[in-house]
Point group: C2
Chain length 166, copies 2
DNA sequence: TTTTTCTTTCAGAATAAATTGAAAGTTGAG
DNA sequence: CTCAACTTTCAATTTATTCTGAAAGAAAAA
């Protein structure tokens, strides 16, 4: 397969994959494009490659930088800013896990704690409290697994899961 | 906190949590509602509790049934269908892992394989092939880890069943 | 069979999310 | 300082997704 074609397909696939996981399509596409590109790209090149507007490119690049997945690169002799993606897929995975844990799991856990005790004596109260406490326990294990992953190397998943499942 | 209030908050939170992960808000809310309810609910009760239309309720219940997260329950003496959610959070997690692996990870892996070799000799070709192969390796490990989790759970289930039978 | 009760479907409406593009803002060069 | 090159912002628009509700379908009850 031709590089240009393969790259186009990869960028498109990564975009739709991302949007299944709550990540904006364009953001995932920009990230994919930068992942398979050797040299850093300027905003104009990204706009052209993905046929998106300046505003859209700017907003999504900024968001990728927020996540720590992309960084600004100074190219000597150039006025424009250039952008490059983190290419180590394990680092990428760790960044995503760390961010989503911080942004979603942790707030959810705090929330569950806040509603873990309810008043009343009906059967539904017992069901409610059991469900919430089961979810909390599950969440704590997930949290712990992620924490382990963030600290460990590339073989974390197998090791951790095996331990959890024992 | 009052049960009714806590339940309302939980359902709302679970809904917005789900929509961060590519799951339709209403679907997540229905699942949450059924998780904290002792008795199976009829479509009308779900509609009323979540103030959603009949069509919306029907479509999302069907989707939950497709996923295997909710099942129809026959209540004797009742004409209507009732619905109950799987309440074991580990089973829920296992179902979600299995389904998303099948629906997303596996197709993505097949796709990556199909574009793993490209023609050309530029530096970009090397970058492209390395990125794709790194992602594939990562995906294989994730796949393997999920497989381990799914198997461990099955063994656990089998063990429980064996115990029950003796 | 006919009626009643409940479920399913789906075109159109409503809502939410993403995108555009032009104007305003910034920054370095001359 | 002024200009030109580039970046950022954001109101308006477009696109995508979700939801509604009425009509049609199905099946038990009468």
């Amino acid at each position: 397969m031709e590089l240009v074609e393969a790259r186009k397909q990869f960028v498109a696939a990564w975009g739709s994959f991302g949007s299944n996981w709550g990540i904006n399509r364009t953001m995932a596409q920009i990230h994919a494009l930068l992942m398979v590109t050797t040299k850093p790209l300027a905003a104009d090149e990204i706009m052209q490659e993905l046929t998106i507007s300046r505003g859209n490119a700017n907003m999504n690049i900024r968001e990728l930088i927020n996540w720590g997945l992309v960084e600004r690169v100074v190219v000597s002799g150039e006025r424009r800013e250039f952008f490059a993606a983190e290419k180590d897929i394990w680092k990428v995975a760790r960044i995503i896990v760390r961010e989503r844990k911080k942004r979603e799991l942790e707030p959810m856990m705090r929330f569950l704690e806040s509603i873990s005790a309810v008043e009343g004596a009906e059967a539904d109260v017992a069901t409610f409290e059991k469900t919430i406490s089961d979810i909390r326990r599950f969440g704590q294990q997930a949290d712990q697994a992620m924490e382990t992953m963030l600290k460990a190397d590339e073989n974390w998943l197998l090791g951790t899961l095996l331990k959890l499942m024992r």
